[in-house]
Amino acid sequence: MTHLYELTIAQARDLLQRKEISSVALTQAVLDRIAALDPTVQAFLTVTAEAALAEARQADAAIAQGRTASLTGIPVALKDVICTQGVRTTCGSRILENFIPPYDAFVTRRLKDQQAVMVGKLNMDEFAMGSTTEHSAFQVTRNPWNTACIPGGSSGGSAAAVAADMCLASLGSDTGGSIRQPASHCGVVGLKPTYGRVSRFGLVAFASSLDQIGPLGKTVADCAEMLQAIAGHDPADATSAPQPVPDYRAALTRGVHGLRIGIPRSHFESPGLDPQVADTVRRAVATLEALGAVTVEVALPHTDYGVAAYYVIAPCEASSNLARYDGVKYGLRDGGSEELLEMYRATRSRGFGAEVQRRVLLGTYALSAGYYDAYYRKASQVRTLIMRDFAAAFEKCDLIASPVTPTPATPIGAHADDPLAMYLSDMYTLSANLAGIPGISVPCGFSADGLPIGLQLLGSHFQEERLLAAAHAFEQATEYHRKKPVLSL
């Protein structure tokens, strides 16, 4: 017998609808799992046990009365960058340690509309700045496959919680790879939608032209289900896309026959790429070919400059966005000074961690008088060239396949004093954010040490259906997603 916490959304919904299980029993199983494992994994910053059980009871009543929605009674958890009315939302930062949002994010509201049960809020690199979840002000989340390793980041809690069966699915946010990279490291599925596909209303801003919310799940079908719930236009987010939302669930079974998969050779020949990752991803592409896809070589000549462009644009936007933390309207205030500017400085220096301060300094420098053209303008021009590369590539292919990360999960502490080395690990993911295109990470194998490896598929704008279809076909033809980490209780 499968434990209840091991169920996928699809399996759980089926059992709930047939009244073979109750949402209260399912939610309690997930809460028990969190109580048993999270002292080790440390994925959760807040567990909302009582509220979750109340929501589960409502879900059971809805099922009894036949008033169900797509996620009725399904236990999910949210990255702590997404506002939840009345539930502390810290962004992994001391500066928001006691922040209780007065409203729900658009996606939180959508999940409630679908009658999902929220079991808690998940750890992250402070303000989503980082690729390891070590930059949380509160705790270091562990990789369930090897607790000496990072889970990836910045949505490390979101990936680890799904991998360790501490929720059925979660939401994360992806500014430079922060959904796909931890999904890859933790052996789960992670989808970054097209920029604008999901409203950012109530998502605490890091880099507004790059941030996008998306799902992490145990299967591709579960990610499709979550995306279906959260996608769509929102007048409260002026950058949210008016395009109609297609039926993502129906797209799952379209297969890959005749699909043209673009292979950027440079992505498989980068000096920092672990040969195990390269071989595993090449084998995954061969599996897609065996399923009827064809491969074509594509060139993305400017993606080599993606990391440099990103680490100008993202810190510039961050330095502007984080100016709002001034100790006045919400969050921490250092009460030691009677002088306004001193109060700002004391508050921000105490409230922001080292990585956030580094990026605020970097962005402020790049935007300061005399440097704007050399940094921000130059990076924004390179961004145009990266977008043109993708547009040209998608003339020749339907999807692009590549690694997600150059190596499997690294040991905790490996990048402690070398932020640039950590930034370089984002090389395969962040150009999708610069171009605004969707991407998915799907489990495609394991390293010799038993750490998960992900296959990244990228699509053109609003081609989530194609991504889901290809990832689902791959998943159905392989067994990697069935393997579970072994965590001792």
Binding site: F99, I100, P102, T194, Y195, G196, S209, P235, A238, T239, A241, P242, Y305, V307, A308, Y311, V312, S319, D326, G327, V328, K329, Y330, G331, L332, R333, G335, S337, E338, E339, L340, Y344, R345, A346, R348, S349, Q357, R358, V360, L361, L362, T364, Y365, S368, A374, R377, K378, A379, S380, Q381, V382, R383, T384, L385, M387, P419, L420, Y423, G436, I437
Partner: protein, 95 residues
């Protein structure tokens, strides 16, 4: 070094950050290393290339000007570190 400690302290002032004097050197070298890496952008020929600020070209996102419900004053002030009546309280600004 790409950025001097004096420049770093100036930028910190602009960013409303106070840097621990013991950490200035290390921080300047870390930021300098990142800036040196970012300088590889200079190798790209961007002559005549327009900059992109947003990947999806959404322009003029209008909505109907209708009366909507908003946060109550109490809710809007609920997270304020210091409050007096219906106002955010700040240290003295004008001398």
């Amino acid at each position: 070094m790409k950025i001097s400690t004096e420049e770093l302290l100036h930028v910190a002032k602009l960013a409303r950050l106070r840097i621990d004097p013991a950490a200035v050197e290390k921080l300047a070298s870390q930021v300098g290393a990142i800036l040196a890496y970012v300088d590889t952008l200079a190798r790209v020929d961007t002559e005549g290339v327009p900059p992109t600020a947003h990947a999806i070209g959404v322009t003029n996102a209008f909505r109907e000007d209708r009366l909507q419900s908003h946060l109550t004053t109490d809710l809007a002030l609920a997270n304020a570190p210091a409050r007096e009546e219906d106002f955010f309280l700040v240290p003295k600004v004008v001398g």
